[in-house]
């Protein structure tokens, strides 16, 4: 997640400090130079065969020692499930605060690091500051900008070998890779969202068609994944949070948890038979109508319009 370096560079500029990146793993030294190119002023490399696989217990022990040695002002970690567990446990070991899933991180006029995150199922944003250091925060994928690569960037690369690595308490019995969509939905410029208004899984082909024309991806709401078991992922607060240029909500009522996941979309279109659906309050363009009629007609209209352009 290169956004960590992008956001980290901005914050260290505001804080008047330096950006250090940490790489743990095995045979990872080549990555250090790359991180310098992206803007890390210092890269700490812990290269050890015991770190070949991500074992949270072992990584946590190493990071705790590094943090105690380096005493950073702020430790940024990616908001994946692994990252969030790591961040919470690191904070517990150091007896400090941790703010997960930050939508915003900035230095205020008093020099404090101010964080913002979603709470109450999307109903509110809480603004918090830390009372302890290091300040630990996690950031969601794609929330902040990726840094530019500059081959001429200079930085210090430090190999750290005096770290004691503990064997993991947990044994990984089995790993089953899951099919991850080639392009992550977070990266899509256009997302077509389908909700309970779609009666059958096969009906998604009309959304697929629209997505194809717009060069976008199709997303789903949680009930389609959890209740109907049609899919394994969803868009929303507890799933993927997206910020495309265009989000088209088809047959989606717009419960607050879903809305929280699409809030940062530039333009939102809502297509729904119910004019009172909460999604209408959240949309730039509202079509009250049956998605089974509107979407094929919309695809056709776009096809003509794009062909003539």
């Amino acid at each position: 997640m290169l956004e960590l370096i992008g956001k980290g560079s901005k914050l260290t500029g505001e804080m008047g400090t330096k950006l250090t990146a940490v790489i743990l793993g095995h045979d990872v030294k080549d990555h250090a130079k790359e991180l310098v190119g992206y803007g890390a002023q210092k890269v700490i490399v812990v290269d050890n065969s015991q770190l070949k696989e991500f074992q949270v217990d072992t990584y946590l022990g190493a990071l705790t020692q590094l943090t105690q040695q380096q005493k950073p002002e702020l430790f940024l970690i990616g908001s994946t499930r692994r990252g969030k567990e790591l961040a919470a446990r690191l904070a517990a070991r150091l007896k400090v605060g941790c703010v997960p899933d930050c939508l915003e991180l900035k230095v205020d006029d008093q020099g404090r690091l101010v964080t913002e995150r979603i709470v109450y199922g999307g109903n509110a944003i809480v603004t918090q500051v830390f009372r302890t250091k290091p300040q630990i925060a996690t950031i969601p994928r794609r929330r902040f900008e990726k840094p530019e690569y500059k081959a001429e960037s200079q930085g210090e690369i430090i190999d750290v070998t005096d770290i004691s690595l503990e064997p993991p308490k947990a044994e990984i019995v089995e790993i089953k890779p899951i099919e991850v969509a080639e392009t992550k939905i977070e990266e899509a410029r256009v997302v077509i969202g389908g909700g309970r208004g779609l009666e059958k899984k096969e009906d998604f082909k009309i959304l697929d068609e629209l997505a194809k024309i717009l060069g976008g991806q199709v997303g789903y709401t949680r009930p389609l994944a959890e209740d109907r078991k049609w899919f394994t992922e969803w868009v929303g607060l507890s799933g993927h949070a997206i910020s495309p240029e265009l989000y088209i909500a088809c047959g989606i009522s717009g419960v607050i948890q879903h809305v929280a996941g699409i809030r940062d979309s530039k333009i939102v279109v809502a297509i729904n038979t119910d004019p009172e659906a909460p999604i209408m309050e959240m949309a730039d363009y509202i079509v009250v109508g049956d998605l089974y009629e509107v979407i094929p007609a919309f695809s056709e209209a776009l096809r003509k319009l794009l062909a003539s352009a």
Partner: protein, 264 residues
């Protein structure tokens, strides 16, 4: 015989929360409260383990005095013993302080073979109390479990990560946080509710635990809340309407081209 502890939180029912649109403040007074959803999954899982292997299910909450009602519900579902940690000095505890209070409670009523928590609470959703508690107790942890199995002195759990699903095995005592997918929590029968109403809920205050007052409540918290506000919703809300679906669709397509989000 397994001794299981389930940590539950009385959370604001976020689906029923209202916002004052003028001030963007949440109306939390009288907002309905309930057991946080995933904590209910943790309870259900504990009760299923007890039904299968025998044992005892304890449940604990840290919160205001009325969080008792949450424990009543847990007892009705099938928990055997309930503990409420409630004291004015616990108010506004963050995850650091809350996990400390829980750890001190466990030192007094434990030890437990297995501690279960929900993956996160529905209101603050920070997913920290479980992992922090495991660290305080220095026991193994598995997060985001969607399947759980106890065998001998080991617990095996399957968890879904972004790129894979992992099956992890740890020795008990251990702490596991569970997701919604793990089970469908039961709805207690009227009989069970009535039986539960007679069970005792142990109400403890700070003085009953070995807690340092500087480590709980606002004083003991590492994160300070400055403000809680509803997000701004500024959308255009333009209704597109034509004589037919075809005309509506054409109008919509044109509008989106004008916005510059289509046709590049």
């Amino acid at each position: 015989m397994v001794r299981i502890l389930v940590c539950v939180k009385q959370a604001i029912d976020v689906s029923q929360l209202k916002v004052d649109s003028a001030t963007r403040r949440l109306i939390t007074v009288d907002a309905p409260k309930k057991i946080s959803d995933f904590d209910k999954n943790a309870l259900e899982e504990a009760i299923r383990i007890k039904e299968k292997l025998g044992g005892e299910v304890f449940t604990v909450t840290v919160g205001p005095e009325d969080a008792k009602t949450t424990l009543r519900e847990a007892l009705a579902m099938g928990a055997d013993k309930a503990y409420s940690m409630s004291d004015p000095i616990f108010e506004n505890s963050d995850t650091l302080a809350t996990s400390y209070i829980l750890a001190e409670t466990i030192k007094k009523i434990g030890p437990f073979d297995l501690i279960l928590c929900g993956e996160a609470s529905i209101d603050s959703f920070s997913a920290q109390v479980g992992p922090r508690l495991a660290e305080q107790l220095a026991i193994p942890l598995i997060t985001y479990a969607r399947r759980l199995n106890l065998e001998g002195d080991a617990v095996t759990a399957e968890r879904g990560l972004e790129d894979c699903s992992q099956t992890m095995k740890v020795k008990m005592p251990a702490l596991v946080t569970v997701t919604k997918e793990i089970n469908e929590p039961r709805i207690p029968s009227l009989m069970a509710i009535m039986k539960a109403s007679k069970k005792e809920i142990v109400m403890w205050k700070a003085a009953d635990l070995n807690v340092a007052s500087g480590k709980v409540g606002e004083n003991g918290s590492a994160v300070q809340v400055l403000d809680v506000l509803a997000p701004k919703m500024e959308r255009k809300k333009i209704v597109i309407k034509g004589e037919s679906a075809k005309e509506t669709a054409e109008k919509l397509a044109k509008a989106l081209v004008q916005e510059g989000v289509v046709g590049r």
